[in-house]
Symmetry: D2
């Protein structure tokens, strides 16, 4: 047992931390100004292009991808601490490094399951940061935490597949650069439960695709993540070669996609929580009330101490989960993958709430990033199924030992 | 001791509940549509004018004002249950009844402290619902929970007063109908602590008034409450007759304004919590997952039961506070006025959080009112000073008994 | 709506508060000394006899009993604030006033359902404080929150009934003065669900009664409440005239007994919480650490403020429940009777936990009453069925409106 | 970074787990019976002697001691998982392995700082499990979380030291086998803050030592840990050679003693929490209510899942702290040593509370170990200073980065 990062990780952390200091943090106010002046509410700030170029130049690019043909060849455990660092500037850093969801998951899918043609056509420009993508899974009418509920149909018709259905919370789809959707649907509703689904590539500009609106989270559009679109697929016809892996493979692909995404999300949340704690501390030493800095108040000290205690515990659990995924695989890490989904958003939400409170009314406003970050942490208690579903499932596994 | 509402209250409740059923709830989708189509993000929906006319016709108008020359002559205890009912549709009902903050507090101030001329010029059109108003107290640079920190100056210059300062969180000021501000500032910074301040009427269109922006709460503009403006007062000159009550009276006016406002806010929060609980129950019986309505799940049942238990307790505490204000006055009700400020927003926030969770991802979106209501409940943990300041003050009063 | 106590209540409160000051609080250290020196761990301290005599002399006797033939003729709402006051010294005051559980419930049962002979034989000496009693309902083998699970049999045999079964948590039965048990059992297991049970009077010295042991709550024996006995009934034969009300009436009697008992328990808990808050405040002003009394520490202030806020809310809910029971009866108050069972023990447990923490290691020890009071509050989260069962039931009633 | 235990640890874990299964768990009911029948409430059960002999025979003895002359030579990180396992049977296993507090800390002190004579006279029989010891630090009159408050005097008089003072919470001192106390006191109250104290060996049978009483924790005497004594030292004279290390060294010794003790306590708490979770699961699958095992109820499932999530996080934090102590020392691990003191007892208390609730009224009684274990977890929120003091200190360190 060893709690030190390995040399590869340490070196990458150092380089990334320097990149954050030299490029990302200084770009934050620039991005904010550019966004405020933008005509298109979904536009990404111009400074991002510079950050991307610089990151690529420095080799801080596609670090998330374990595949060392296309990516950096890092293990989950090596990449996790880097994801944490990008979480400290979550609207810029992940995208700057071409490590932003949902592209990361989509690139993994294409790298693992794509045909050569699919890789050439879609993985390459994604790896190069030239286009963005969306993942279309959740549907408004059904409880999508159960994949067998999915109602979207993907039907073979000659050399094509025809897609019909309605999706929402398709993250990334509002981004003007989003060119390609991976859509989950049923190819055979009568097959065995986990062989009914498939995933298919649908270019956004295909006739019949109607991006109806962006879903809000609390009052935010989440434009920095490309929003969350509601999309209608109305007799959308794509070449048969757009199917990924094969009919009936949808569920297996979804499972493979799941684990690393959880790690990334959770590590970024830890970075967010660290940022919130830093802001809370800075505020506490800088804000004067009742005759002294509020850092002297016992209640604020409790928030700070408790934040540190909670962050440390969550980080270790996520890192151990990454290690398990590397050593025994997604299945062996099932309990832990659920545990981090339950523990990390709640932790981050708590820290952010206290940081907001320490900032007074400004804390809930646009003058600090805290309220928006809170909204995304809160939303993660629902994303990929509400926490309650994960707790139920985790408990059943725990109880099995005693049956 | 008697927990039944009196006859006046019961009759008004019945009439108001009918008005909600017949007019307000049906107007909710209409208003939403009108807002979606409006060019001006601060415009109020046209249907509101109809609601106001109907409420006035039915005598459900200015119920908040205890003064029976201008208002309905109800006690705090009689009005409180009506405020709760309006809280069930908080973006329409309070305004429909001309009982919306901050006008209510401002009308109280004018009714109690205004000159005849001030009443004629500003109270009358406010009572008639022809104009709206704002209250400008909080300042960005200082911890405003301590009134002696206020930096805005109100200086006499011949027949005028000249106002200089910067305010933010001036609720109501972004409303296109907002015509008048009540501004708190210092007339004599060298006077005794609580005799330094005054309040003055500043028409919005006075030269030197610059409404710079609306503050967001989480991602919302709170346009339904007229937003929360940041305003610069730059050598703003108004006639000396615009001063309310007199130099040095500002703190006393603020104290008088405080109590009833807390009751209103808290009772509306209870109405909001009841609405959230209703939505949670409806969702629970209507949404199917894992083979049955989610109402069958123990965790959801716990949320519902606990919501009911918490709402009942908070309501009783607010009603008792209203009764204390009626019987022993603001001062005698000091502990309780702080207690409801501490207890009610937290309670509402909790209930709303669970209602959101029961709605899945939809709960955080624009498809349900829950996320926006949550944001306003959360913000009330900071409005009028963070809860922590109120807890500290309440504790000190409690401890005094043992010194 | 009126939050003031009526004149009868106010006068009784004054007399009782004086009695507490003059007799009960001074008797606390005496009782503790007497208990420490007693040979029998179940003996009651001698000073109690003096307190009882004095209370009776002052007319502070049997106040709980609404029946004005045998009791004080107070409503639930009038008695509730008196029960709170006795809760401030829970090991002495309730018994001193002959208002201690489980005698109170047992006397109510006898007053309401007893025959003249039963009243003469058992109610009279209970009313006179000459004997104590126990209530034998819960059984170790079954989830007793469902009365239909009860396994104890009460079988007619000639002029007798024969009782067989095993009970535990029979509060009061370890008290040396305990002379009579009211035992719940089944007379007809084949009858309709709520007509299977009966209650019967079993003198403790009847052959076949075997009091096996006292159950502990945490490390305490709860001797001040007569302990909680495990009792075997082995062919226990009593005269047929000992049956209360009739075969099949057991469930109805239990229901009638339930409501007032909840009020008493909950109001005493509020008195306990007030005592804990007082102790916490006294400790806070008297204990010095880090250069000042700990009352200056923000965290301690938060505990005190939050305790006050929670106590006030719980008290109002219990009082309203008492009022509902007086005005619309047990059934109409069903939701509230469950709500106070859920809310009050949790509140008291929270306040006690903080008071303990403020006392340092002494807080968990025999040097302060806090740890023992905590144990009894904690246990009330399980008594009469765990909170979870009550929440489930309350939620189902709430949900019914939407079905 | 590697989350697998090393080979030494794995092998010891296997041997210890087998020892638990074959010897310790079967001894639990035996010990309980022996204790129930014992005349002396402080006696240890006879079966312990057998367990000790067997453990020693198997080489599972003094594993805690890093010193490989006297102990097993394990690092903190290697011993921690073994301490967890002993926590699963906390009244037998630690003592069976001669790894029970406060002997562990006392043996460490003697091994590190003792003279040859002190080692021969006291360390040897402690290592052999022939005698037990106590650690006398806390005092009733002062807030002992600040060592400079200590009032006990250790004064040189010729060839002797004379000890005067009053201690309480001297754990272990009620054990009939307790032969030696390590007493903290002041040799020079005028020296620099952390050079005023010394530690001295005082045999229990020295004239002037008066063990007055055992402190209770929630009704329990904690006899299995040798109780917590209040002790008066009244002109207690011991040879000068009994002083450990030297005058003024007391604080430094206390600091050195602190870290490993925290690890041991916290790891045992994790073992306790695992035992509680196991009992909760067994109860959940075995107890039927409302037509099925309570394991089917959503609320119980939440408790189980949340327990798993919290235990995993706490364990990782403690293990990392052990690793830090091994790699960068007590000082470098300061934040983490405080963090585990804050996080672990709260976690264990939470899990135990839920396990109790799942057991119904039995859960608070002597029929299950849960209530007593809860009491010890709760007490650890106060031991070594209340959590609030540790949070304050941790926060100040966190804030320093921003000053």
């Amino acid at each position: 047992m060893d709690f030190a990062y390995d040399t590869t990780t340490e070196q990458l952390r150092e380089r990334l931390l320097r990149f954050m200091d030299e490029h990302v943090y200084p770009a934050e106010p620039v991005a904010q100004r550019q966004l405020a002046e933008a005509a298109d509410p979904w536009a990404r700030p111009a400074v991002l292009a510079e950050l991307k170029a610089e990151a690529r130049r420095q080799g801080l690019w596609n670090l998330f991808l374990p595949d060392d043909e296309h990516g950096a060849g890092l293990t989950n455990l090596q990449y996790a601490p880097l994801a944490e660092i990008t979480g400290r500037s979550p609207h810029l850093a992940p995208e700057a490094l071409n490590c932003a969801a949902p592209d990361t998951g989509n690139m993994e899918v294409l790298a693992m399951f794509g045909t050569e043609e699919q890789k050439r056509r879609w993985l390459r420009p994604l790896l190069d940061g030239e286009i963005r993508s969306a993942f279309c899974m959740t549907e408004p009418e059904v409880a999508s935490s159960d994949a067998t509920n999915i109602a979207t149909r993907i039907e073979r018709d000659g050399d094509s597949y025809v897609v019909n259905g309605r999706k929402w919370w398709s993250s990334g789809a509002m981004n003007p650069d989003c060119a390609i959707f991976i859509v989950m649907g049923k190819t055979d509703p009568d097959a065995e439960r986990h062989r009914q689904q498939a995933m298919i590539l649908v270019p956004r500009d295909t006739p019949g695709v109607r991006v109806e609106r962006g879903m809000h989270v609390f009052g935010y559009t989440d434009a920095s993540h490309g929003g969350h679109a509601e999309i209608v697929f109305d007799d959308v016809r794509v070449p048969a070669g757009n199917l990924i892996a094969g009919e009936g493979e949808g569920f297996a692909i979804a499972q493979a996609r799941l684990g690393p995404g959880r790690i990334h999300h959770c590590m970024r949340l830890i970075g967010i929580a660290e940022r919130a704690l830093e802001l809370m501390c800075r505020r506490a030493v800088g804000r004067v009330a009742f005759g002294g800095p509020i850092a002297r108040q016992g209640v604020v000290q409790e928030w700070i101490a408790e934040s540190r205690v909670r962050i440390e515990q969550a980080r270790l659990l996520v890192l151990k989960t990454a290690w398990l995924m590397d050593t025994v695989g997604n299945k062996g890490a099932h309990t832990e993958i659920q545990a981090i989904k339950i523990a990390t958003p709640l932790m981050a939400e708590w820290v952010l709430d206290k940081a907001i409170q320490a900032h007074g009314a400004g804390g809930v406003s646009q003058d600090f990033p805290l309220a928006e970050l809170w909204a995304s942490a809160r939303t993660l208690r629902l994303a990929d199924g509400p926490d309650e579903v994960h707790r139920m499932s985790l408990a059943k596994r725990e109880l099995k030992r005693y049956l």
